[in-house]
């Protein structure tokens, strides 16, 4: 239990809607550097174990963007969700070229475990998000390790979908904002996505909509510059999910673009979407009904 040795350092703590918005720093084993993450603890977390919602931010973001711009606190407070928002990449690793591009290196971890030098020592964001961080959170806070959901924006969605689809059952629910880096939307991601989903038939079966409760909510701004640029192919994405029977509700929101203004508009819907599965989980989600 190596992570136990690593103390959490609280950077900040602010009361918000009855709960506490905190930022911590710790030494990551996976990433081999100091990492920050934000954790919102709802009022309910003082007395009972709360479900945790992981938020994966988009390119160039840190843990601060989401907690300061999206305005999710009220919804999370009311529904008793702990919200964990990690940074998007290792920082200060002194790797050559890591700060050269906005979409590569620092702030662009893509939530994958790199296999190539010089990145492979530090850029293991997939393992960090999938394993180290949840273990750290579960050990440090009063959260229910059985109830996790994942949500993201932009590049975050890439991580979201990878994490969710590769580990069916790990997350109770999934949602996404403007998944521009969604695996199906770029040749690279398409390959990854189909690799995770298409080749492994036994896993593919696990994603059967009728057997899995994995219900994905996606919001996409219709005026998103990336969508308008023709980089997004929602129809293809929908068609692929239709074929695979992955239950998705994809909402194309008229007039919205890619920013946190868009996220802030619909974050409550997403929190509710997750809360439905996270809070309903205690009692099996079966219909209690009888005919007349």
């Amino acid at each position: 239990y190596f992570w136990r040795r690593m103390a959490l350092t609280q950077i900040s703590s602010n009361k918000c809607f009855g709960g506490l918005q905190k930022v911590f720093e710790h030494d990551s084993v996976e990433l081999n550097c100091k990492m920050k993450f934000a954790a919102y603890l709802p009022p309910k977390a003082e007395t009972e174990k709360c479900p945790a919602l992981y938020w994966l931010s988009g390119l160039t973001s840190t843990e601060q963007n989401f907690i300061s711009k999206s305005g999710y606190h009220q919804a999370a407070s009311e529904r008793g969700l702990a919200v964990i928002a990690p940074d998007t990449s290792p920082r200060g690793c002194n790797i050559k070229g890591e700060d050269e591009s906005w979409d590569f290196g620092t702030g662009a971890g893509f939530y994958v475990d790199t296999t190539e030098d010089p990145w492979k020592t530090n850029y293991r964001m997939y393992s960090y998000v999938m394993e180290e961080l949840p273990q750290l959170i579960n050990a440090s806070f009063l959260v229910d390790p059985q109830r996790m959901s994942i949500c993201g924006h932009s590049m975050g969605d890439h991580g979201v979908l990878i994490c969710a689809l590769k580990n069916p059952g790990n997350y109770k629910s999934v949602s996404a904002f403007a998944p521009i880096c969604s695996p199906v939307l770029c040749p690279w991601g398409k390959r990854v996505f189909s690799g995770y989903l298409g080749t492994d038939q036994s896993k593919g079966k696990a994603y059967d909509a009728t057997r899995s409760q994995l219900d994905i909510l996606i919001d996409q701004g219709k005026d998103d510059q990336f969508l308008l640029g023709g980089q997004l192919l929602p129809d293809n994405f929908i068609a692929a999910c239709t074929e695979k029977k992955i239950p998705i509700v994809f909402r194309l929101q008229e007039g919205y673009e890619h920013s946190y203004y868009f996220i802030a508009t619909f974050i409550t819907d997403h929190i509710r979407h997750h809360a439905k599965y996270l809070n309903a989980w205690k009692t099996p989600n079966k219909r209690i009904s009888s005919g007349l």
Partner: protein, 742 residues
Amino acid sequence: VEEESGQELGLDRSTPKDFHFYHMDLHDSEDRLQLFPEENTRMRKEVVQAEMANESRGAGDGKAQRDLQEEVDELVHLYGLEDDHELRDEFVDENMPRTGVSEYPPYVMKRRDPAREQRDWRPSGETAEAEDLGFGGWGSAGQCQDLREAYRYTHGRASEEYECYVIPEEEDEEEAADVFCVTCKTPIRAFQKVFDEHKEHEVIPLNEALESAKDEIHKNMYKLEKQIIQMENFANHLEEVFITVEENFGKQEQNFESHYNEILETLAQKYEEKIQALGEKKKEKLEALYGQLVSCGENLDTCKELMETIEEMCHEEKVDFIKLGKFLKAKTDVEISAQPEFEDQTLDFSDVEQLMGSINTIPAPSAPVINPQAPNSATGSSVRVCWSLYSDDTVESYQLSYRPVQDSSPGKDQAAFTVTVKETYCSVTNLVPNTQYEFWVTAHNRAGPSPSSEHAVYMTAPSPPIIKTKEIRSCEEAVLICWESGNLNPVDSYTVELTQAESPEASGVTESVVGIPTCESLVQLQPGRSYIICVRALNTGGPSVRSEPATVHTIGSYFRLNKDTCHPWLIISEDGLTVVRSERRIPARELSSSDTRFTRCVAVMGNLIPVRGHHYWEVEVDEHLDYTVGVAFEDVTKQEDLGANCLSWCMRHTFASSRHRYEFLHNRTTPDIRITVPPKKIGILLDYENSKLSFFNVDLSQHLYTFSCQLHEFVHPCFSLETPGCLKVHNGISMPKHVTFY
């Protein structure tokens, strides 16, 4: 045998006497009251004496015993005779003809069992009972029964007691008896059993006999106690009767007096009239005679004058003599104008006779007072009519007449029915429900009928309503129940009665909603329960019987499809929950536009209960079917597609070139929403409180879309089929938990 027959004779003799004994009439004296207890004690005394005598005479002597028995019986008869004497003074005239001795002996003989029933006086008692019925007007049969029983006891018991005491503790010294002969009822010595007269007889040990005798005594004592209580009660009753008799006689005296005075007055009046009439006649006759006397005198004078004149003429011998004829022509009236004899004047006493005749009878009663109908006293086919009389009246029976009240044709009165009753009430049956009847009553006695009472209108209760079970709609909080009146005429109101079925904490408690003026009612209920609901109709007469019950479950919302709104191309199943669009079509041209029926879009509405709150239902669809499901106001334009106006909110599915397209339409606009897994069952949540309408994929618990809609009125579920196929509505189901998050 001789003795027995002798006794029987004695009994027969006494049989008629019993009648006197029992008869209690209105005019009976109070003496009778004391008679029974007194007699009882006297009787007992005698019995004891007899017993003592028996003791002294020694045991084993059947003869002595018999003698005793005889003595006692004789005593009993003596009392009977005594009673008879007392009574005869009072009743001779009335009872003698009825108690002909010759009438009864055969009857008694036939009944009599020669062995042991010689002391059973019951037959005479029974005949007495039969006779008593004739006097039913006064006392109740029960009283007579009591009386008879009491008497039977005093007599019957005397001999029973005697039997018991006959076994004294005398078996001492040399002749100590050791067994008891049952047949002879006497203790005997064992050896006597072998020969002697007891040879064939049944014997039991003396101790046993003693025990049974003691038991018998105890039983008898108990009976006696009971008897005493009975006698006391009876005495009290007789006191009451005494008072009543006194009162009745007082009334009768008054009545008689007034009649007597009436007759005297009438006679006096008649006397006056006659005297006056006679006086007038006398005066008239005397006047006539006087007048005639006067004229007679005048005639006499004239004659005398004539005579003188003639004499003068004769003397003078005048030629005037010729004139004489003139004078002679003057007539003299010698007819007597008035008859001296008295004319035969018949006196008419018929009215007096009638009055005399009516002295013994009671006056005809005055008109009874009919009561207005008591609330809740009627049933659907009967009413209970009550009336009262003036306390002074003697009434033998009442005649109650009735006929239905008919407003429409007052000229044609229906024939009245009449029933005769003795009581001051009557339950009239076989009437028509929810109908007014007028009742009037007359009292009758020997003197005749009373005038009729006022007419009172009574109403029969209505027929029970009929619940329209197919139109029941419900939700978690309420039920809307409709019914047919079941009555042709209007009723005052309806009552809905609810009982929770199979509910352990509130079992059998019936709640009522009263005073419902119309044939439907929205009743608040508890969620998640089952109720049995009945309806009654009410009018002034009372409530009807309950309607056939209907069962309602407050689980989810329950409704059926409304056939009145159904597009002609659609067929609704018998249960009102499935709608089918078949391939064949009637040309659309033939469809006339309507306000209630969908004519353009092939749709139908559901009848949702008009209750705010939330309602959830599910629709089972074929994923290749083009359908629209949602809600609409009742007055939505039926010539437009659902969702094409601001009065409806709908989810539309179209399936074209193997792609599913989902629209969430309101006022022709829809958000752009893609759904990857086509729902087979759509859950619809209508939430008035939050002004929301949400759609779900039931199998996935997946939220599809939520409308925010301003529902200023109640909406109804609506369903349309754009291609042939079928939709199945599931309702009456509880809301799944996942929908509560939206």
